[in-house]
Amino acid sequence: MTKENSQDREWMVRHWAKFIREHPDKEWSKQQKELINSLIS
């Protein structure tokens, strides 16, 4: 993984975590459910 790629990913992790902190559980978990359920039945 390049340094730039790693920094991009870190930024995204922080951004998503901020979204989780600032929004109701139902809101972020609905998005998480769509991701996970698309891969696991």
Binding site: M1, S6, R9, E10, V13, R14, W16, A17, K18, I20, R21, P24, D25, K26, W28, S29, K30, Q31, Q32, K33, L35, I36, N37, L39, I40, S41
Partner: protein, 189 residues
């Protein structure tokens, strides 16, 4: 996410990985104590990734106790390691794990291990109750997960899991505890 004195309350929309864990634990908790560790802890609290296995520790048990647990689990899950109860029990005793999946599936699966390292016992001793809807799950202390992922596992995925936990739990975790757990996990690495 609500942080209370004795628990964390999660009002999340349950996904299929959460459902697998809740279904498994519903059976397991009637037979033994347990604690969820590693990647699923990050996923439970919102990490945007999937995992093919869910790790948990249980206290070491005797063969009849494990046989009873295995029999109960067999109603809904199958043990993908195969073998008879003695072989499965021997696997657990030899510091390996046994893996259970829903019938007809291999992944995702739940990897069960006997606690044996100091950090495993610390996970069990300090486990946190997480209220998910009307159910409870028990997870390792967040600070211990961060220390373990940053100091022992150290892969990009694990570092991102640790960062996710640091960010989501900002203001609700202790830097001193992370340092304490760093010393604990590195002493026994």
């Amino acid at each position: 996410m609500e942080f209370k004195k004795d628990k964390i309350v999660l009002d999340k929309v349950i996904n299929n990985l959460d459902k697998l864990v809740l279904d498994f634990v519903r059976i397991l908790e009637k037979k033994t104590d347990y604690v969820l560790v590693s990647g699923y802890v990050s996923i439970l609290f919102g990490r945007s990734r999937i995992s093919e296995d869910i790790d948990m520790f249980v206290p070491k048990m005797k063969k009849p106790g494990f046989a009873s647990l295995n029999k109960s689990l067999a109603k809904e899950f199958w043990c993908i390691n195969g073998g008879d109860i003695q072989e499965l029990f021997d696997l657990l005793l030899k510091k390996h794990s046994v893996r259970y999946a829903r019938k007809g599936q291999v992944i995702p699966n739940i990897e069960v291990k006997f606690a044996r390292e100091p950090s495993d016992f610390e996970s069990l001793r300090g486990k946190i109750k997480v209220e998910v809807g009307k159910r409870n799950l028990f997870v390792s202390p967040i600070e211990l997960q961060i220390a373990y992922k940053e100091k022992i596992l150290k892969s990009p995925k694990d570092r991102e899991d640790a960062l996710h936990l640091r960010e989501v739990f900002k203001g609700n975790i202790s830097g001193e505890k992370i340092k304490y757990y760093e010393r604990l996990v590195m002493r026994h690495d």
